[in-house]
Amino acid sequence: MPSTSHSNKYLDPAVLAEISRLDLRARQVVEGYVSGLHKSPRKGPSVEFAEHREYVQGDDIRHIDWKLWGREDRWYIKQYEEETNLRCNLLIDMSESMRFGTGPLNKFEYSATAAAAIAFLLLKQRDAVGIRLFDNELRDTVPLSSNWHALHNILTVVEQTEPQKKTEIAQTLTDFAEHAGRRSMVVLFTDLFVDPVDLEKGLRLLRHKRHEVLLLNVLDETEITFPFEENTKFLGLEQMPDLIAEPRALRDGYLEVLQEHFDAVRRICASMRIDYILLSTGDRLDKALAGFLAARARVVRSTTRR
């Protein structure tokens, strides 16, 4: 694992420590090679033996190295290059609204930290990970790679990013889907301050292209609870108008509107078999991410068993 001189900001040791014992598995069939983690549509052995790995329940027994078993009296799986290669694209929203935050990390920073952690996890799994930043169009990119240098590149890119523009998620996801190539896992980090119709449009294309999507909806804690009391002039981001209001008078209505939005998003995700999690910048990322990954792992295993 290469040195990560950029890792102090976005590689949170606590997060890494929490999730390192976990794995991120693809739910569906993805292109690439499947070892014990990811299924591959291709049959047969891989072209190149990579290493042995201890057998775990669920692994394909056709890949058990019986010779080694004879020697060691333990089961080992042969891992080939291709079968370990999950392609995972991390899409991070870098629109102006992601700049908002009332805690130590704003939403973009929180998302970037989560993305870095997931990238770390994937690279540890020898999966390929890349990153695409977007606002009203796709911006900076780090191509898919299973090399640890990818992490460095990811971290460099996110550090240099300054969220400032408006989100155009439909167009962005459409562009990505059309240029993404082989199907992959797409992890989307966004505050989802978009029209659900546009979101659905973009997600539908991704799913049409057979990408597996994980949607991480990152919001600031205040955006979820709206705890304000005093008269406030709210300055709108992403070219939204300002508003002077008495927060107490609007609180219930705001939360009601927010709830309706979340319900719509969840319906969209459920209809497209997209995993969704609402993350609050007020939550501890290590716990939140670990909880999400563990829960997802349970679901994936149960699905795989069937």
């Binding site: 209505g253 509107v257 319900d263």
Partner: protein, 759 residues
């Protein structure tokens, strides 16, 4: 008209503070913190959704806050209303007040300090009170009651609305009021007021405007007299009582407190002595020689007579004047002193009925045609001496046998001289005669049976001592061989006064050989022994008894010279005359009265026609007023001489009131009545003010206090308490609203929606 006024109107300027919540609201809108907000889309949608609700909430809060300020300002400005019972009762008001102004118009109110009588001060005050209520458009009703006529009411016996023109007219009429010559009876006045208000539902308030003299209010113990206190206490169950004091410090005042004739009968041609009593009511002693008493008999005024000696405060002295009326008939006698303070108590009047003569009936129990042998000869000769001497006495002598059937209406005195016995019917007649004022004199003798006399005239058993005879008779005493004389008598008796200074030998010259012993009952207070014999027992010689309005004398010896030589003694003639004048039927006393008492004249069809008039004094107009004829039953205090009486009530002024009557034959004849001021009305000592204020719910105000003119605030309906309660309720409501509007459910996004995993 709503009629809402404010006790502190200048505080209403604070209404400008009602704009404070609005100003604060507007200022708050300009004060805000600034922050970036990413989820503006949601916020804008929420604002659109809640715009109306938020606006309404803000308006409601603003309204409530403004109302709180308005309520507070109005409460401190103390609004009140005096109109509209419905509105007043809504705020728990006491409603209309019946305000009774009891004005003391008694004679003492004519006194004052300087040239301002208390009554004028009182009138002015009452007018101010009425006009104040009128100007304030008070909801009160006013009744003006004069102490001299508590049942009448100056305002026609009805109350007037304070806000109406009738109140103004009432105030105007007060100017013409004059003080009466009567007394102030607080108990009677307040009781009369309560009787008139019985059944009324208004709250009552009583203002008594008076000089509050001691004689009217205070008893001998220095406290408010029991009946007065009780009457005030009954009134305070309905409302408060204010005593408005217009009294001034007592000043030096003398008064003629009595005028009477020494003789029970005034006879034309016979000198009569009149006695006037003058009293010093003032706080300082007075030199009597400064006081001139002028007597007037009819139209004849005599030279003044001066008092003798010094009169200390509260002391009185007599002055006498002898006068001989020439003509018979009613006449008015006056005794007057110079007016100092009160004109009414400086003169006293007396109606006398001058008779042609006193008519004596002598009943001879043992007639004898020989001169001076009969029982009555000596007496008749002494009472009506022959010749030109005018004794003023007409004597009629009849034998005992002629007494039966003899009517006594024209007789002033009956002498029973050695009469054996009389039928019961005669005895009853005599009792009625004496009870009505007639005189009766017993002379005893040898025909008198003590047992019969005791049974007939003294009374038996339980009636013993209740008969006409002053003493119970015992046995005949004495003998022809010896004699007794008269003991010198007590000369303080009116009939024996003339014996004062007489040498005792005169009494020793009266010899009695026989007499009938007699005994005085110790418990009999109506009887006393005037003269005694010099026997061992000091047996009574002459005894007197008061019987009804009449008097009875008993000589225990004979009237002739058979038992005694008294008829030949020097004192016999003057003694008989004095005793006759003492015992004679008196003049009618119902023609001399106190102011305020009614004229009541029994109607006698045989003597008068049914139509009569009364001519009041000149101060009351002097115009003849018809007299009403009322049945006796309606006059419970009157003795039933006849079935009807003439009655006249209105006698507020002292002076002569003359009743004009006609005989059945149409001849006019007059019956004068003399009305005097109560002699104690001249006592101007003030009641102890502390004693007055010790009565519950009674306040005392000096007439000079401006606050006395303030009408009772409780007759206003003040709202400040209600407004304060409303304000507090509104403040609590505002707090509740603010919490309710600002309360957020603190809901978070439902936990179960946070993660979605595809199964």
């Amino acid at each position: 008209m709503l009629g809402i006024s404010f006790a502190n109107p200048f505080l209403l300027g604070g209404m400008a503070l009602a704009s404070l919540p609005i100003i604060i609201h507007l200022l708050n809108r300009r004060r805000f913190k600034v922050m970036e907000w990413a989820a503006m889309d949601f916020l804008l949608k929420a604002a659109v959704r809640n715009r109306k609700r938020v606006r309404l909430e803000n308006l409601l809060l603003l309204l409530v806050r403004t109302l709180v300020v308005v309520m507070l300002i109005m409460a401190v400005a103390r609004p009140f209303t005096q109109v509209d019972d419905a509105l007043a009762s809504m705020f728990g008001s006491e409603g209309q007040t019946e305000r009774i102004l009891l004005l003391d118009d008694s004679h003492s109110m004519r006194a004052g300090q300087g040239n301002r009588p208390a009554f004028e001060v009182a009138k002015q005050l009452v007018r101010k009170l009425i006009l104040r209520l009128h100007e304030e458009r008070s909801n009160d009703r006013i009744t003006l009651v004069l102490a001299s006529d508590p049942y009448g009411g100056q305002s026609g016996g009805q109350s007037v609305e304070a806000a109406s023109d009738n109140a103004r007219r009432l105030a105007e009429r007060i100017k013409g009021l004059r003080a009466s010559d009567g007394v102030f009876d607080p108990e009677a006045a307040i009781s009369a007021i309560l009787d008139r208000q019985e059944g009324g539902e208004s709250r009552l308030a009583l203002d008594i405007v008076s000089d509050f003299r001691k004689k009217d209010w205070i008893d001998v113990d220095g406290n408010v007299a029991g009946p007065v206190r009780a009457a005030v206490s009954r009134f305070t169950e309905h409302g408060e009582v204010r005593l408005i004091d217009v009294g001034s410090s007592p000043v030096q005042n003398m008064g003629v407190v009595s005028l009477e004739s020494r003789d029970r009968a005034v006879v034309a041609g016979v000198p009569t002595t009149f006695v006037a009593r003058i009293k010093n009511h003032g706080p300082e002693p007075v030199d009597g020689s400064r006081i001139q008493v002028t007597f007037q008999f009819g139209e004849t005024r005599l030279d003044p007579v001066r008092l003798e000696g010094t009169l200390r405060p509260g002391e009185s002295a007599e002055v006498t004047q002898e006068f001989t009326f020439r003509d018979r008939g009613p006449a008015v006698v006056q005794a007057r002193i110079p007016t100092e303070v009160l004109p009414g108590d400086d003169v006293r009047r007396l109606v006398v009925h001058v008779r042609k003569s006193m008519r004596f009936l002598l009943v001879d129990g043992e007639p004898d045609p020989e001169h001076y042998r009969g029982e009555t000869d000596f007496l008749a000769a002494s009472l009506m001496p022959p010749g030109n001497t005018v004794s003023g006495i007409d004597v009629e002598v009849i034998p005992e046998s002629a007494f039966s059937g003899r009517q006594l209406e024209t007789v002033d005195c009956v002498f029973l001289m050695n009469v054996y016995r009389l039928p019961d019917e005669r005895v009853r007649l005599l009792e009625k005669f004496v009870e009505g004022g007639g005189g009766l004199v017993f002379f005893l003798g040898d025909q008198v049976d003590p047992a019969v006399y005791n049974a007939t005239f003294y009374g038996k058993g339980e009636m013993a001592g209740k008969g006409l005879l002053p003493l119970s008779l015992l046995e005949e005493e004495g003998s022809s061989d010896d004699y007794f004389t008269l003991s010198p008598p007590q000369v303080d008796h009116p009939a024996l006064r003339f014996l004062a200074g007489i040498n005792e030998i005169v009494f020793r010259m009266v010899h009695v050989r026989r007499f009938i012993g007699a005994r005085l009952q110790a418990r009999d207070k109506q009887t006393r022994v005037l003269m005694s014999w010099t026997d061992d027992n000091n047996s009574p010689a002459l005894a007197e008894k008061e019987y009804g309005r009449g008097r009875v004398l008993l000589w225990t010896t004979s009237g002739d010279n058979e038992w005694t030589d008294m008829p030949r003694s020097h004192i016999y003639l003057p003694l008989m005359h004095e005793l006759a004048r003492y015992v004679v039927k008196p003049d009618p006393t119902d023609t001399t009265k106190l102011v305020g008492s009614p004229i009541v004249l029994p109607f006698q069809p045989a003597r008068m026609q049914r139509i009569a008039h009364v001519v009041p004094p000149a101060e009351l107009g002097g115009t003849p007023v018809p007299l009403g004829l009322v049945p006796v039953d309606s006059v419970p205090a009157e003795r039933k001489k006849s079935a009807f009486v003439f009655r006249y009530e209105r006698t507020p002024i002292a002076g002569a009131y003359t009743v004009r009557l006609k005989t059945p034959q149409g001849e006019d004849y007059l019956r004068p009545y003399a009305y005097n001021v109560d002699p104690e009305e001249g006592d101007l000592r003030l009641a102890d003010r502390k004693a007055l204020t010790r009565m519950d719910r009674v306040s005392l105000h000096r007439a000079s206090e401006e606050s006395m003119l303030d009408t009772d605030d409780s007759d206003r309906t003040e709202f400040w308490r209600t407004l304060m309660y409303v304000m507090i309720a509104l403040a609590a409501f505002e707090t509740l609203l603010a919490w309710r509007f600002g309360h957020h459910k603190n809901k978070k996004i439902a936990a179960e929606g946070k993660q979605v995993f595809v199964r």
